[in-house]
Amino acid sequence: MASVLICNQIFIMKRIIPDIKVIPIIRHVKRHTIELSEKTLEKTQGVKKFLAEVANFFLFISCTIKETFSRDFEFKEFLRQCFQIGYKSLPLISITGIIIGLVLTIQSRPALLSFGAVSMLPGMVAISLIREMGPVITALICAGKIGSGMGAELGSMKVTEQIDAMEVSSTNPVRFLIVTRVLAATLMIPILVLYADVLGIFGSWIGANIKGEVTFALFFSQAFGQVQYIDFLPAVVKTFFFGAVIGLVGCYKGYTAGRGTESVGVAANSAVVLASLLVIIIDLIAAQITDMI
């Protein structure tokens, strides 16, 4: 296209200035066209690669969904994954939950105090924790811990031919490795978020007692007194999507890792990056939908 336009320009220039030397211009046009076509080719290949990756990811999701509803569900492995994802994340989520509540209270208190609205602190902290802070921060932590773990574990299984060995021994690796992990993440992350919310409010109570004095029962009744059904339900629903996305991305990156040991690191790293990004995007979509409701 570019070369056609340039040729047209040369033709017009030749009519205006008959003595003009065309050969150097043509050489320039050729070189320019080759450079342009190489760049276009590079970009096209990049776009093709990206589209192929997206298509592969959706195929992977459809395959996982199909295998989820097939016979011979690997229940024992599912329970093991629930234990790995849920129980083993409790210490990290506990510490993070308490600190989020504590920090939120310490930073909000002076502003509320200046308006004489300290009594609204428990409700404000509870709503912000339940609607946004709890789900997003817990999901981001899980994307780091669980997503990278899945990426690295499945990636190393791929490199050491363990997935091939599973397939050869007549076991469907998607059913055994992927479905169990994705379902466990989808189920466990909402539970971890609720747990983080409760501990966040507990941390907030500790924060409120640093500068003031409020009983545990009063703080909790004030906190949950402000929370409505509409604050709670969308936040819980979106955490299921967070869980599914973390599980799917972690498994996809690990399962499609290359053959070298370097690819294990790449799989773990890209699982964290992509899962975190998708958590933020889902949160944005959820916020828009909740706003419309």
Binding site: Q162, A165, S169, S170
Partner: protein, 244 residues
């Protein structure tokens, strides 16, 4: 005697992007024999063996295993066929997160679904004894040496009583003594479990110890076929470079 081919490959071709790894490879594995496929690294031996079990899809040709055309099988039927094939991976491919016992239980529970726990335990004990490692039941793969891992991997493969055994470089990375032990085990498996085996290797000592028949792959095709004595006596430069 061994006239029934239980594995037949005709004009098999497989390439990756521009690189053509296998070009019209044809071979037959007869009932009860040990067929060794020799070749340099990169000659397409592992690609060949992975095509047989459907881990790689060939570009052309046919693979017939136990009377079934692998290329035309759907996933369920391929799964059923794989139950009759044992595959020993080059790396052993033991499941890192499981103990030795769980590694052996894994295929057994899925392939022999009717077995009771008592029967499973007995079977595991029997194969571990066969590979000479009865005392590592509760160890995890990272606690085992390279030779032990290979033996456990072999035990995991034979525990389901396969009809065909495929060995992918069974002695690679092992010291000469352990390599000899693995070669001996391959022969014992053939005798005890009446299996037919395809052994992919570049280890001449392993080939000498196990082969009933040898095929040499070179440049993606079959270069020579015969028994080990014919290979030893060959005046061909390439063959001589292997057997010197």
């Amino acid at each position: 005697m061994k006239t029934i081919p239980i594995l037949e490959i005709n004009n098999l071709s497989k390439g990756f992007d521009e690189l053509e790894v296998l070009k019209n490879v044809s071979l037959q594995l007869f009932n009860g024999e040990n067929l060794v496929v020799l070749g340099k690294s990169g000659s397409g031996k592992s690609v060949l063996i992975k095509c047989i079990v459907g881990l790689l899809i060939p570009d052309g040709g046919t693979i017939n295993v136990l009377g079934e055309d692998v290329g035309s099988l759907k996933s369920d039927a391929l799964g059923e066929l794989r139950k009759k094939i044992g595959f020993l991976f080059q790396s052993g491919a033991l499941y890192d997160s499981m103990t030795v016992k769980q590694n052996l239980e894994f295929p057994l529970r899925r392939i022999k679904k009717n077995l009771t726990q008592k029967e499973i335990d007995k079977k595991i004990e029997e194969v571990l004894e066969h590979v000479g490692l009865s005392d590592v039941l509760n160890k995890i793969p990272s606690q085992l040496s390279g030779g032990m891992r290979k033996r456990i991997s072999l035990a995991r493969t034979i525990v389901v009583d396969p009809q065909i055994m495929l060995y992918d470089e069974p002695t690679t990375g092992l010291d000469p003594v352990t390599s000899d032990e693995i070669s001996l085990l391959i022969n014992n498996v053939q005798k005890k479990y009446k299996t037919s085996s395809l052994i992919i290797t570049h280890d001449i000592e392993c080939a000498r110890a196990t082969a009933n028949r040898v095929i040499m792959l070179h440049d993606g095709g079959v270069y020579m076929e015969g028994n080990i004595e014919e290979f030893e006596k060959s005046t061909d430069v390439l063959i001589k470079s292997f057997f010197k």
